[in-house]
Subunit: 458 residues, 2 copies
């Protein structure tokens, strides 16, 4: 790393916040992408930890002048390598911008700096007796990151994705300008909506430094149902039937019985539903226990005619927590054997068809492709095992799965994003003209291409 | 209008669909912007009515080659002159693309062509026992238009604005390419989100030809409350208190008692709430009458401590319809005296402060500035009267109002958009760098600037 650059960086952020020792910065060079496909970071990097947007602006101006790549970094919980500095240059950690500036109970908004963790945000919001509705998963994620990735999660069926909650942004552009968009506003039609463009831009158009999110009232009660079927198509047919009742569950997940068993066994727990091979996990929330109970009744009744073989209703906190643990630990349990976790979105009603196709492709390649996901919003995560990687079949299997998804009107990434590992795959669902426009946008915001090069845009 | 161009247009859409007679096309040269500020259309125009995206593509290629301005047009229900062809050229009516292609009850989506009216869309969705949640107002609006304007309306407090429902788009770019984004997908993170950029682009980046909207289950019951206060600040303080109960009303509107009286008198109707000067109109929806009744009780109880002087609960359809009529006709009643209707968004908790400032400004200029609006989402519509226009004070009053709104963290347009009449005003809430980026975007999508020039971007 160029000594003059290091000197300038030290002048901007102070010598304590410029790190050049590999061991001290190694943990900033990763994310949680599965190892076999995780991009390898350059070692020609310097880690800087600015304290505020002004320092970030000065760093970006410097980098822009010297044509040095800059990768802004949140909690490192991404799974597509977006935050890994493959080209070397400056890695900019946002962790010092970690304040929850305000939970505004009058306007039902929270204002937070980009480096605040999701955990911290959730705690502050909860302390004000309000709700930040989406829950994208790992609470070590940082606020800026969940916006830059438009994070999803299991609650999208009821509450949508992160985009829906972003009402204001402060961003440092690659050319150094600090701009703000929106605010504590629920409507805002002042010309082309650049705020929307920043959401899901994966760090290539600007560095998000502050976010205003809309909040909601908390839900008071929850119940978790496991609705069991002997036939996966019957289970998936139940999804729109449930939604049409007017009850919109917080989460509506599909699992094969034998897949969830892997997790139960590993955790030494018991999956409470004994019958059926195809299970829907339905989490219902309401304003009080009675409301939840009534909604659960509506769901159970609506499913009755659809070939349900069993329904388990968990009402105690412990039972519900156990079920959720088995579901949410599934990924961790499988992870040691996994070479790549895919992330298709398809029209929700096609999920059973897609799962059948997945099984067929698995058979063809002599492997089991474990797949589960968000039935309510059509987002599925096929897990490709290490043994496929060892047999050199990862790409072939992936291509066939992508082909099936796009044939059904789907896309290759629903919530994980493109990052660095899906770059070549985007063109399977985005045409050449659109990619040309994306490149044009990049050039417009970042004429010298310094921000997170090789990410998001093929 | 150039004869060769007319000939080419006739070749593309057929001679029946090219209109050059001013009387036959006059109604296509307007929107519903208040007359004193409505832009004047050029008479050097031709009206074309293409049948499909392919014809639109050919028209745009032709216009692009010849550098002829093109204004795409929906229902003409806009209020900022966006669809008025001030520079002459081609006016392209989308009305022949008017099919509701599919109401998909399995995926809870509707696919419609851009020229279908909102009325037609709502009917088709209702017939399938589903709900298109937003209701931006005039049902003569067309699907493409409500997306191009990111329409809002009274239901945003519960359901958000149109953006939230747009899951797929087919668009013809100014350079003639027909592109599609998204589909029947609830999550989609495949690179920079150009679909979002098209929403609220007011016809300057492309011509929307087909839209996929997400649908919801219908609500079964409704109740309308009028909660009366003697103090506007107390009324506005009740807004977050209501929202914090967990009951999110379909609409949460604020009216001064004497303003709604104008509408009641004009319609020969009776506003059912007698007491108080400051009224909140709260529309509650639920899965059944009992649910609605319970929610209404929660709202009434939450307001009790806040200085409520009276609460009227309307449960019959007729009573509710009457109340809604008085509220929704307010604009029509006032219209003959109105020179401009403003459209600020401010943080919802500041509404009472803003209304006080409006009254002060009115006093200063010796006028009454009638203001009402969406208390739940912070969107207010101050009405500037014709007499102000006659006294040459329109701009002075408007500037002071804008100044107050932006001081409170607001913007000059919440749901109406920029169009042609707010162009000079955008810079009061959007900085120079952002305008530069908007211009760059325009150039990227529309290198020759043929699409709706002089709109949306200062």
């Amino acid at each position: 790393m160029n000594a003059a650059l290091l000197e300038d960086l030290r002048r901007i952020v102070g010598p304590d916040w410029v790190v050049t020792d590999w061991q001290a910065m190694e943990s900033y060079m990763l994310d949680v992408t599965a190892l076999p496909i995780r991009p390898v970071p350059s070692h020609d990097v310097v880690l800087v930890k600015p304290a505020n947007p002004e320092e970030i602006s000065r760093i970006l101006k410097l980098a822009n002048e010297r044509r040095v790549p800059v990768v802004a970094r949140g909690g490192g919980t991404g799974v597509v390598g977006a935050a890994i500095p493959t080209l070397g240059g400056i890695v900019m950690a946002l962790e010092r911008l970690d304040r929850i500036i305000e939970v505004d109970t009058e306007n039902l908004m929270v204002v937070a700096e980009a480096g605040a963790t999701l955990e911290k945000l959730l705690k502050a919001v909860e302390a004000a007796n309000l709700l930040f509705p989406p829950h994208p998963g790992d609470e070590g994620a940082q606020v800026g990151g969940i916006v830059a990735c438009n994070a999803g999660g299991t609650r999208a069926v009821k509450y949508g994705v992160v985009r829906q909650y972003v009402k204001g942004l402060e961003v440092v552009l690659p050319t150094g300008e600090i701009v703000t968009w929106g605010g504590k506003l629920l409507k805002n039609n002042t010309g082309l909506d650049l705020l929307q463009l920043m959401i899901d831009s994966e760090g290539v158009l600007g560095v998000i430094t502050k976010v205003t999110f809309r909040l909601y009232p908390r839900f008071a009660g929850t119940a978790t149902l496991i609705v069991s079927f002997d036939d996966r198509h019957a289970a998936i047919r139940a999804v729109p039937v449930i939604l049409q009742t007017g009850v919109i569950p917080l989460a509506l997940e599909y699992v094969d019985r034998d897949v969830i068993q892997i997790s139960a066994d590993h955790l030494g727990m018991k999956w409470p539903a004994k019958k059926g091979t195809a299970h829907l996990l339905v989490i219902i929330t309401g304003s009080n226990d009675e409301d939840v109970y009534e909604q659960a009744g509506i769901v159970v009744k609506a499913c009755e005619k659809l070939g349900v073989v069993d329904t388990v209703v968990a009402e105690t906190k412990e039972e519900q927590a156990d079920i959720l643990k088995m579901r949410s630990e599934l990924y961790s349990v499988l992870k040691p054997q996994v070479a790549d976790v895919l992330d298709m979105a398809i029209p929700p009603a096609r999920i059973a068809d897609f799962l059948d196709a997945v099984d067929e492709i698995g058979k063809k390649f002599g492997t089991r492709i474990i797949t589960y996901g968000h039935a309510g919003d059509g987002n599925l995560h096929p897990h490709l095992l290490l043994e496929l990687h060892k047999r050199g079949l990862l790409k072939a299997v992936k291509d066939e799965l992508y082909h099936e998804a796009t044939k059904m009107g789907g896309v290759i990434t629903a919530e994980h994003g493109v990052g660095k590992v899906r770059l070549k795959e985007v063109s399977m669902c985005v045409d050449e003209k659109q990619i040309e426009l994306m490149r044009g946008l990049k050039k417009l915001f970042d004429p010298n291409g310094i921000l997170n090069p090789g990410t998001a845009i093929p």
